[in-house]
Symmetry: D2
Subunit: 101 residues, 4 copies
Amino acid sequence: MLVQFSIVPLGRGESIGGQVAKVLDLVDGSGLPYRLTAMGTIVEGEWDEVMALIGACHREALTGAPRALTTIIIDDRPGKADRITEKIRSVEKRLGRELRK
Amino acid sequence: MLVQFSIVPLGRGESIGGQVAKVLDLVDGSGLPYRLTAMGTIVEGEWDEVMALIGACHREALTGAPRALTTIIIDDRPGKADRITEKIRSVEKRLGRELRK
Amino acid sequence: MLVQFSIVPLGRGESIGGQVAKVLDLVDGSGLPYRLTAMGTIVEGEWDEVMALIGACHREALTGAPRALTTIIIDDRPGKADRITEKIRSVEKRLGRELRK
Amino acid sequence: MLVQFSIVPLGRGESIGGQVAKVLDLVDGSGLPYRLTAMGTIVEGEWDEVMALIGACHREALTGAPRALTTIIIDDRPGKADRITEKIRSVEKRLGRELRK
């Protein structure tokens, strides 16, 4: 399944780039395919491995803040693989042109 | 932690009330405090129990549909209890009036 | 259409109840039907009036904070009215029991 | 402000790639900077122009489906420009390496 998540620590100021870097380290260490976007992290994997990873990132955020807001959006289409690249490629094919990444 | 989730099965028509009823049965059986709203289900509990419950609901949706979109929003403020009722009560106190439920 | 929204000001501490009360005043003044839940505000209306309201709430949040995160979820089913109460009533009918509000 | 949105038409089958291509045409025609990700479209602009664009995409989705679910996530930090590229660049700087796009 394809999952986008973002974690916002509250009570630490408005700049959360340091937080994002720590989360990226955890995501990178998981071995799962991922992309960072300007609005969150997209990762592809099975329910248990993805949720364990997001749980670790969420707990990490709470080590430095009294409150965390975590948003998770799951797009699950069993039997379809490598959707992290295929979804965009399929739109590019319909459009007949490449999109800026 | 306080968690709102909603699950949308795709490929089964636009009416998903039957789906919502099945999910509610699973939520009710979990023993966790919950509320149904017009836009999703709110449940309060620890990460593992809440995620196990949402995972079961997500898999249930996929038994009858080829694709499911699940959105999870987590508001985690460790040390604060019974936030499923307290958050609204605290706003009512500030407003000086009761809100329509 | 049925719309849930929540606005999180960043850079002001972890407690945002005062913010929620101000937003509720704006929502109440709009005359649109609404419900406050533990995870956001649900409002029912047409695109232009709902978005003007959420825009006003978003700008209000930015008067006291350097950054705001606003999440809007829209469920639009043209031709269906009073869904703010009907969606829950229809699930209760299927379940054969009333849900706790 | 930076805005991610995704529009899911309900009642038309589970494959919504054609829908995504139509939305991309509208986004492209708006002249606003944007990125397509595997989970939605990210666009940068002022409230009125971004909401007019998303409203047009939402109405487009409803021409072919009886129901549409639209999710909008706004990250607004007045005074910061070109965040559609800067947010990722700033994380890469902290990490000391480039991320896969």
